[in-house]
């Protein structure tokens, strides 16, 4: 095992190389661009055998990913913000066609007004496309999630595309020490893709057909059933990864210091590190607080969340995005999942457009939650502006 100090984007490129992706169609956008630049360098140096496909837009990039994946190739792309929004029609198309494409989403705010900094509005707006959606806290987790993503996506019970998120700049352009596994060990965890091509002149097929109302619903139901299967496959892949490489992420969500906790804060992405610090300080002062880190947003780990929340009185949810007219996007899902439990859920919207979510902000969120044990708050959703 070799440790190197690398930015999140470099780490993604290493993850893609180690996963032996065969084709990378992509279009540049800040803060994603350096992922594909690094992959281009690997290919140019002869360190990676893959085709880098330059296309005219993100829409074309996802179109090319769909074509490549239909050929049975292990396919990767990366994007951010407006680029991901531009792909949106085809992200539905990729999932509906059951293609195991893996995409890195370097989270960035949506315009207008223009803003290139960290914000999860881009990836959470892809919620209903049928893609699995995973979040990463550290650059090491970025590497490990990238490798796991290919295995989860190609699992015969899943066969759905996977996007994994890293917060723009907070991870993408921040350097941290990352352990790089050996190629041979990754090959053991992630064998070569053996999917037969669907585009084959010797065995012609008809794709993208028009099922009538009596048939269509079955295809959608199968996507939901595959999401259920992913609820087993994600933790299984993570356990197997831990067995081979010594690092695991607790599957779909990580309960942190929930023993005896009355209050917890749930969040996703790089801010989890700050929350860990605040939990530690508050615990030292005797406050019964903990954290829940959401790793898998789709499928949403409702059962696991209910188990983690047994015994809690109040759960705060910090969202780096907003469904305007409703509140935090993750907050809404958490509220729905916890409906059978007697846990009050509070929503906090913070850190949009790269604004720092500071220790003080997290401290304030915990204070609001602790007060809500006794006093019903005037508002369930609060903006940290």
């Amino acid at each position: 095992m070799v440790a190197r100090v690398m930015s999140g984007n470099e780490v993604v490129a290493y993850g893609v190389k180690l996963s032996r992706a065969e084709i990378v169609p992509s279009y540049p956008i800040t803060p994603q661009t350096t992922i594909v630049e690094q992959i281009a360098e690997f290919i140019a140096n002869g360190e990676m055998r893959a085709e880098l496909m330059r296309v005219e837009s993100e829409y074309a990039a996802m179109g090319a990913c769909i074509g490549a994946s239909l050929m049975g190739a292990r396919t990767f792309t990366a994007t951010s913000s407006q680029g991901l929004a531009f792909m949106h029609e085809l992200t539905h198309w990729a999932a509906g066609s059951r293609l195991p494409i893996v995409m890195a989403v370097v989270n960035r705010a949506m315009a207008p007004p223009w803003n290139i900094w960290a914000d999860q509005q881009d990836v959470l707006s892809q919620r209903d496309t049928g893609w699995l959606s995973l979040f990463c806290e550290t650059n090491q987790e970025v590497l490990d999630t990238c490798i796991q993503a290919f295995r989860i996506s190609e699992d015969r019970e899943v066969l759905l595309p996977v996007m994994f998120s890293l917060d723009g700049f907070m991870l993408s352009h921040t350097s941290e020490p990352v352990e790089l596994p050996k190629q041979g060990d990754v090959d053991g965890f992630l064998p070569e893709s053996r999917r037969p091509p669907l585009l084959d002149v010797d065995h012609p097929t008809t794709l993208f057909n028009v099922p009538v109302p009596e048939q269509y619903m079955e295809f959608r139901h199968w996507i939901e059933k595959s999401m259920d299967a992913a609820r087993r496959v994600i933790p299984k892949a993570d356990r197997e990864f831990k067995r081979r490489f010594g690092r695991g992420y607790r599957g779909m969500l990580e309960p942190y210091w929930l023993e005896g906790a009355e209050v917890a804060l749930l969040t996703a992405g790089s801010v989890c590190g700050t929350v860990r610090d605040v939990v530690e300080s508050l615990r030292k002062r005797g406050e019964k607080v903990g954290m829940i880190k959401l790793r898998s947003f789709r499928p949403f780990p409702s059962e696991e969340l209910r188990r983690a929340c047994e015994g809690l009185r109040v759960l705060g949810v910090a969202d780096r995005a907003c469904s305007f007219g409703m509140g935090g996007i993750i907050f809404s899902d958490v509220s729905a999942a916890l409906q059978p439990l007697n846990v009050r859920v509070l929503g906090f919207i913070a850190g949009l457009g790269g604004r720092d979510i500071t220790h003080r902000d997290i401290w304030r969120m915990f204070k609001r939650c602790i007060r809500a044990i006794e006093v019903t708050p005037a508002r369930a959703i609060e903006w940290f502006v």
């Binding site: 509906g96 066609s97 059951r98 293609l99 066969l159 669907l198 065995h203 012609p204 097929t205 008809t206 794709l207 993208f208 057909n209 099922p211 048939q215 079955e218 295809f219 199968w222």
Partner: protein, 86 residues
């Protein structure tokens, strides 16, 4: 029909089992006296239901009645006739 994930049909040419003539409200009727046999209707038909000849043949099992052939015919030999009047 067996449904497959991703709605993939693995048997080539099976679309011919789906006769699309039910979509039609107007049918192309060819006046063989006016037809010059130029083949433009055959060339333009988006469903390949016209066979080349003088007059051309129309496969009414699949013709959807779009009217492109009548529009393109330089000799005005094709007219679109409402189905209910045959």
């Amino acid at each position: 029909m067996k449904l497959t994930p991703g709605a993939v049909i693995t048997e080539p040419g099976s679309t011919t089992r789906y006769q699309t003539n039910g979509w039609r409200t107007f049918r192309p009727a060819v006046d063989s006296g006016k037809c010059t046999g130029c083949g433009l209707c055959w060339l333009y038909c988006p469903d390949a239901v016209i066979s080349r000849g003088k007059p051309p043949g129309v496969d009414y099992r699949y013709c959807k009645g779009c009217g492109i052939c009548a529009n393109e015919c330089p000799a005005k030999a094709i007219t679109m006739v409402p189905e209910e009047r045959g």
